[in-house]
């Protein structure tokens, strides 16, 4: 069924209070570190102080002898997993790499790489024990920078890494894991036709997802082999699958229970602690809690990839782009797997172009293995492309929104990565931005305005949901996605809408791996789309049952019953004359009409429908300090259909703010030994409340016909445009183009000094 007629909706599109809200404002919600188990021990991970080193010996004997220590593990306690990409329901994953990322084997590949772990009766004893573990290292030359890692003679991280995507296979190993290319049309012909060519190089830094909750888990490994894993992650089924694979446990023997998750943004789509805690628990037979410190989060877990973006755009003087070329060199961290593929695919997806060539390189270096971060890959490449397009617009003297509109992708546009777009709403975002009052306001001195657009695919995938009618006519919804930003509310709303009952009568629960069918993780902006589809279908099945139960009570044919406003009615006078039966009336008699009323639906949701966004940013540059203040920010996005508009706005505002942090402040600073110098929130500065204005949002609704309510994923694309929007605004304010992130005060100062060299005091 479809519910695209907005006027007919009673619940979807309203802004009720989330079902888990009260627990979260009174401190009762149970996050990863909040759980305890009887007899629980405290674990602690020992980490490499070296960026690149061979581990020649680990002596754990002193730690084991410390009173209160019950288990110590190293890589020797984990199966040595061969180099193979396996497929366990969450997509391809190289389990050798994942295993070695959780616990270094033979070599430590980055500062902060786990090399051993202990479990003890208190966290203080565990910390003491970690210091007693003696690790002998043979320190190796290291490499941090992406282009240095690609250079001939760079220190090699993996001597069996031969660049994929190059034929014939290279003779020598390198740090380039993969080369990927996309071609459309004839780039040489396109540039030959161009009247203006702009070629620029941009660079971005890896940044951390910086969820406020550090990774945490509490696990028990029973003597019968049955395991319980309570942890904060973006997917309990992902935790189960990865733990099973890394430790050789049957999935049936792992029950993964999702904690409330204190932010993830992609960074909690893989495991770090859970397999280690299980190995410790197995060794000592007691439950084990492992919680990271903030320093461990920075040194040992995911950042997002940074990289180098080389853009070349050719255009006619009219503004029509005739050729575009892009080279991306992305940081993967210590193991292959940067999001360079989607980086390539998203870069020009906003444009209708005939001639495009894109090359991407996936490059390893001595940094933590990158993890997904909101629209993984797209923010970097879009920063380059959207900055370059702005440079083009300025050079041609064309309004940047008009230039984009002239070249905009629309239904029927064949994208550079292949498919032809359908049902997309990019142009409406440009129009809404152009018509927004923000775009017309005047600016003062040292102020500037920038615009930029962005694209993200969104995904669907496997989801399960069940709907249970309780005996009193209230309803339980069980679904398999950890609620990272209000999704319980949208699930309950969709169920309530289908059932025709008040939102408050529906209580959603996030089930563990034993209480709901497989559900792909919370990520890729898929939950409201895919799991929402499963919830809707399960609720529809319940409605069918309710109709047949009413028919049984009335002793008429089920076809003669219709469901409206939460009640069964006879469908017309031929069906007979009966008082309507409410859901509660039917529920109380469910035993007599066939038993409990319940439905579970498992689907593989397809056709997620991409998201487009256009952002407007105003800045003011303090010429004395180089500080950039965000004066005003407006984010316009095609959201399909907003189920709970407040949480859609929240996704947009949060993504924008993370993008502003990436643009202005955030970066990893390494010392000459490859050690991270700023593993804390004091020196790794994420945006704080006083850095920002209100983030204005405009939700354009171009419904996605694949979803019963027209929803599109909304969480990813808001982080795509901000870096270019801020950079374009800075260029407008000071007349200098910042091509290297972050655009922090020292860099702005240097740019201003170049415009007007500072006079020495003596002069």
């Amino acid at each position: 069924m479809s519910y695209l007629d907005k006027a007919a909706l009673k619940v979807v599109g309203t802004r009720p209070i989330r079902p888990d809200g009260v627990d979260k404002v009174i401190g009762r919600a149970s996050f990863g570190a909040d759980m305890t188990m009887p007899g629980m021990l405290w674990g602690k991970v020992k980490r490499s102080p070296h960026a690149h080193a061979r581990i020649t010996k680990i002596d754990t004997s002193k730690a084991e002898k410390l009173n209160g220590v019950l288990a110590v593990v190293t890589a020797a306690d984990f199966p040595n997993i061969p180099n193979e990409e396996a497929f366990v329901g969450e997509g391809p994953m190289n389990f050798r790499d994942l295993s070695r990322n959780c616990m270094a084997r033979d070599k430590a590949l980055y500062d902060g790489h786990a090399v051993a772990a202990v479990a003890a009766t208190s966290s203080a004893i565990a910390e003491e024990a970690v210091d007693l573990i003696e690790v002998e290292y043979e320190v190796l030359p290291h490499v941090i920078d992406v282009e240095e890692a690609m250079a001939d003679g760079a220190p090699l991280l993996h001597d069996d890494m031969f660049t994929q995507g190059i034929e014939p296979k290279p003779e020598k190993p390198s740090n380039v894991a993969k080369r990927i290319t996309f071609t459309k049309g004839d780039i040489a012909k396109g540039f030959a036709e161009a009247e203006l060519v702009i070629e620029r190089k941009y660079s971005t830094q890896p940044v951390h997802q910086a969820y406020i909750e550090p990774h945490a888990c509490v696990v028990s490994y029973g003597s019968d082999g049955q395991c319980t894993v309570f942890s904060s992650s973006q997917g309990q089924f992902m935790v189960r699958a990865y733990c099973a694979k890394l430790l050789g446990i049957d999935m049936a023997n792992i029950r993964a229970i999702p904690a409330e998750i204190g932010g993830g943004f992609g960074g909690k789509t893989l495991v770090y602690l859970e397999p280690v805690a299980l190995a410790l628990s197995k060794k000592c037979g007691r439950p084990v809690k492992l919680v990271m410190s903030r320093e461990e989060v920075f040194r040992g877990t995911g950042p997002a990839a940074g990289g180098v973006i080389e853009v070349k755009i050719g255009a006619k003087k009219s503004g029509r782009i005739v050729a575009a070329e892009l080279v991306l060199k992305y940081q993967a961290g210590a193991f292959a797997g940067s999001p360079v593929g989607p980086g390539c695919m998203c870069a020009f997806a906003m444009y209708d172009l005939d001639n495009v060539h894109i090359t991407g390189y996936d490059v390893v270096s001595n940094r933590p293995k990158v993890a997904a971060y909101r629209a993984p890959g797209a923010p970097n490449s879009s920063y380059g492309v959207e900055s370059c397009v702005d440079e083009l617009a300025r050079e041609l003297g064309i309004d940047p929104l008009a230039l984009r509109e002239m070249n905009a992708a629309r239904d029927g546009t064949k994208t550079p990565y292949g498919p032809t777009l359908v049902n997309v709403g990019y142009i409406p975002t440009l129009e809404a931005a152009k018509n927004h009052e923000h775009y017309k306001t005047k600016l003062g001195p040292n102020q500037g305005r920038g615009v930029a657009s962005g694209f993200w695919f969104n995904i669907g995938g496997e989801s399960s949901a069940s709907v249970h009618v309780n005996e009193d006519g209230t309803v339980a919804v069980v679904e398999g996605n950890p609620d990272i930003g209000g999704s319980r509310a949208s699930m309950a709303m969709m169920a309530a809408e289908v059932l025709g009952i008040p939102y408050e009568k529906v209580r959603p629960v996030v089930g563990d791996t034993a209480s709901i069918g497989f559900t792909f993780l919370t990520g890729g902006s898929r939950v409201t789309f895919a799991t929402g589809m499963a919830v809707t279908q399960a609720a529809e099945k319940v409605v069918e049952q309710l109709k047949s139960r009413a028919a049984a009570i009335w002793d008429i044919s089920p076809e003669a019953v219709e469901w409206k406003d939460g009640k069964a009615f006879p469908a017309g006078s031929n069906a007979g004359s009966f008082e309507p039966l409410s859901l509660a009336d039917i529920a109380v008699k469910s035993g007599r009409t066939g038993g409990p009323i319940t439905a579970e639906v498992s689907i593989n949701a397809q056709g997620a429908g991409p998201g487009f966004a256009t952002h407007i940013c105003d800045v003011e540059v303090d010429r004395e300090t180089g500080h950039v203040k965000i004066l005003r920010y407006t984010a316009v996005q095609d959201v399909g259909r907003a189920i709970h508009p407040s949480y859609v706005e929240g996704q947009m505002q949060g993504g924008v703010t993370q993008g502003i942090g990436w643009a202005l402040n955030e970066e990893y600073i390494y010392d000459k030994n490859g050690r991270l110098d700023n593993p804390g929130f004091l020196d790794y500065r994420v945006p704080v409340a006083s850095d920002l204005p209100m983030i204005e949002t405009v939700m354009v609704e171009v419904p996605n016909p694949r979803h019963p309510f027209g929803a599109r994923g909304v969480g990813e694309v808001p982080i795509v445009p901000p870096m270019a929007a801020v950079a374009n605004a800075i260029a407008d304010a000071i007349g200098t183009r910042m091509r290297d992130l972050p655009m922090s005060p020292p860099k702005i100062r240097a740019a201003l000094d170049e415009q007007e060299p500072p006079r020495l005091a003596a002069e």
């Binding site: 505002q653 993504g655 994420v686 409340a689 920002l692 983030i695």
Partner: protein, 161 residues
């Protein structure tokens, strides 16, 4: 390692506990007293997720020792609601959808409550600077500020001003 005996007041109720000299107030709250509403995000006083009120001042409980609570009056997130009724800041956080993951929420609510204990007429800028010690990575602070400003207006109305 002998433990210290501490007598204090937590959320209006008398409390006693034993703690080690190096244990932080946050560790005591979470691990000794089962008050896990205060969160550890950094243990260096940079994120504010562990914010409590100690004798009327907001404090990062990760920077305070458990023994320092002796004789003090401590309020944690568990003590912000007025009995069964949510504090206006809590209610407005819900109404404005000012939380996404909810992990920073306890600290932000405690800090915002302390602000409104001080003044019922904060400007948005004052509120932004007051809350600048509480990191939120999900919301971009927009809805948080709206919730706090709305709570202030509710409390002004309650106070008959």
């Amino acid at each position: 390692m002998s433990k210290h005996h501490v007598t204090t007041t937590i959320n209006g109720e008398p409390a006693e506990y034993l703690c080690e000299a190096q244990q932080t107030m946050l560790d005591v709250l979470r691990d000794e007293l089962g008050l896990t509403g205060s969160k550890e995000g950094c243990s260096s006083g940079d994120c504010g997720a562990c914010t409590i009120i100690c004798d009327g001042n907001i404090v990062c409980s990760c920077l305070m020792l458990g023994v320092e609570a002796e004789g003090r009056d401590i309020t944690t997130i568990e003590g912000i609601a007025r009995g069964d009724e949510l504090h206006p800041v809590q209610q407005k956080f819900l109404e404005h959808a000012a939380l996404q993951c909810g992990f920073c929420t306890p600290g932000l609510i405690v800090a915002a409550k302390a602000l409104l204990d001080t003044t019922l007429n904060p400007t948005e800028e004052e509120a932004r600077y007051w809350l600048a010690g509480n990191l939120c990575r999900c919301t971009g602070y927009d809805k948080i500020l709206r919730a706090v400003m709305d709570a202030a207006s509710v409390m002004r109305a309650e106070a008959g001003r």
